[in-house]
């Protein structure tokens, strides 16, 4: 299938027979690779150094030849060299600030934004079949954090719903306000809960402490995106998380759906009811040997996650991440084909770098920020 056809017909695109999926994803990658190698001088130099051109990409097994950009390059001051599109074409600068404080900035041009918005919307429809109801967003609004990737992705989901409430404001979260909002929607709308795992966890902790067990609606969903490891280093266990959602929100595990993505890539892998995160066929995940990231590991082996994305025209979105995980090419009981991905952990030495960590850190430490020695003349600017 052509890229445009896949974006337009997700039900078919996610269920292509194996050989067709291989051909579709290879063709999409070859096309994107050819564009960046031709129009991006910095990337072309990498391709020339590696001695690889679009004509060398014939089969899925050839995708490993496509040169990767280490994700930390997006933090560099001279990140403008990564751009294939001129700044005049850049529409959205999406950023993520991890525990290190230096932001990673991904600049998306007009064409990429159109494709990504279509892709994310399409995936929400494909995986959640949601088109009405109310969303309790346990995150700041896009008005408060216009450049935060996670919030931007959640906000697309908002467009499919009839009502919404953003519960995090000025980096403060009040679980009582969340309950009040759920109460208000009861009897009139199906209630969904959307947010990073740690904030859903906070709501659950509150319900547990107050001994309140809610029973949300038959079609309610819990949709999460963002890290499962807190900035403190503590991990949130998925099984326990699902069990608590069932107990305190009355939502069964098959309606708790996590997603995986990173702001530098346009790929969003969404969980099906079997809790497998499906990589869309316009993206490909290549698992690399931790010791030598030029080497691709077989499905099922754990290694560094490389995300290759054919939607990006702004910069070559062939990215070597600092995440560790594996892919699975075996058929999923849901009937969808292609790859599924499992995130395991961050690479050793990598900072925790995602929007969720940044929100959590600031919710927890507003007092610490206030106590920081910021002389009056250097008061933080808005932005």
């Amino acid at each position: 299938m052509e890229l445009a056809a896949m974006l337009g017909c997700p039900d078919v695109a996610f269920r292509q027979p194996e050989s067709e999926w291989e051909a579709s994803v290879t063709a999409a990658m070859r096309g994107a690779f050819a564009e960046h190698a031709e129009h991006n001088a910095f990337y072309r130099a990498q391709c020339e150094a590696a001695g690889v051109g679009a004509e060398d990409i014939d089969t899925l097994a050839d995708l490993v030849k496509i040169p990767l950009l280490p994700v930390r390059m997006f933090k560099q001051p001279d990140a403008h060299v990564l751009m294939t599109a001129p700044l005049t074409e850049v529409e959205l600068e999406i950023r993520s600030t991890g525990t290190g404080g230096v932001p990673s900035v991904a600049r998306r041009d007009v064409k990429t934004v159109s494709r990504v918005m279509t892709a994310i919307f399409t995936q929400y429809r494909e995986f959640f079949q949601v088109g009405k109801g109310a969303g309790l967003f346990l995150c700041p609004s896009t008005a408060e954090t216009p450049e935060m990737g996670m919030v931007k992705a959640f906000n697309v989901l908002n467009g499919l719903l009839d009502d919404h409430a953003y519960i995090v404001r000025d980096y403060a979260f009040d679980p009582e306000e969340a309950l009040g909002q759920l109460d208000k929607w009861e009897e009139s709308m199906t209630r969904h809960i959307i947010g990073p795992p740690f904030l859903v966890g906070r709501l659950l902790r509150y319900l547990e402490l107050e001994d309140i067990a809610l029973k949300l609606d038959p079609e309610s969903l819990v949709v999460t995106l963002g890290g499962w490891k807190r900035y403190t280093g503590e991990s949130i266990g998925r099984e326990e998380f699902n069990a608590k959602i069932e107990k305190y929100l009355g939502i069964p595990a098959d309606r708790v759906r996590d997603m995986y993505g990173m702001i530098e890539s346009n790929m969003l892998a969404v969980e099906c009811e079997h809790h497998r995160k499906h990589v869309p066929p316009w993206s490909y995940i290549s698992i690399r040997d931790v010791e030598n990231t030029d080497v691709e590991l077989a499905p099922g082996k754990t290694g560094v996650i490389a995300l290759m994305d054919a939607l990006s025209t702004g910069y070559p979105a062939f990215i070597l991440s600092e995440d560790v995980g594996e892919v699975d090419h075996t058929p999923c009981p849901c009937g969808r084909t292609g790859q599924t991905v499992s995130f395991r952990r961050r690479l050793q030495g990598a900072e925790l770098g995602c929007c969720a960590v940044s929100i959590e850190k600031f919710i927890d430490s507003q007092e610490i920020v206030a106590e920081c020695e910021i002389p009056a003349a250097a008061a933080p600017v808005e932005g």
Partner: protein, 132 residues
């Protein structure tokens, strides 16, 4: 109006005075702990005039361009002149800003003023003013 002024496009694409001076007379750093925009200036000052200046910046394209135009405007300027800059002056140097880019004018003005204050008081920002 285009999304980025021609000046912002020019300075983002071809930054002037990028880098860091070895052994500068003064160093100034401004950062936003939430969104992460950061500018660090290092400069040599001779007879109250900026003789040499470099920047390091992280953040959105407009903030990177701000760092570049601020160094260009500061080079050869007296500290008194720089102290008179306000947000409007920085925005004018950038050839105008879209509403969602306006925060960088304050960032540029603040880091320029901080350079002057730090030089006068003989202090340095050797660490980012960010809670990591």
């Amino acid at each position: 109006m285009p999304r980025y002024s021609p000046t912002v496009v020019d300075h983002f694409t071809n930054p002037r005075n990028a880098g860091e001076l070895d052994d500068p007379d003064v160093r100034a750093f401004i950062g936003n702990p939430v969104c992460g925009d950061q500018i660090m200036l290092t400069a040599r000052v001779t007879d109250g005039t900026v003789a040499e200046i470099r920047f390091r910046a992280h953040g959105c394209a407009a903030s990177l361009a701000t760092a570049s135009v601020v160094t260009e405007a500061a080079l050869g300027a007296t500290l008194g002149e720089i102290e008179a800059w306000d947000d409007e002056r920085v925005e004018a140097l950038l050839g105008g800003l879209a509403p969602d880019q306006r925060h960088v004018a304050a960032l540029g003005r603040q880091v320029a003023h901080r350079l002057v204050t730090n030089h006068r008081e003989g202090v340095d920002d050797d660490a980012p003013l960010i809670c990591a």
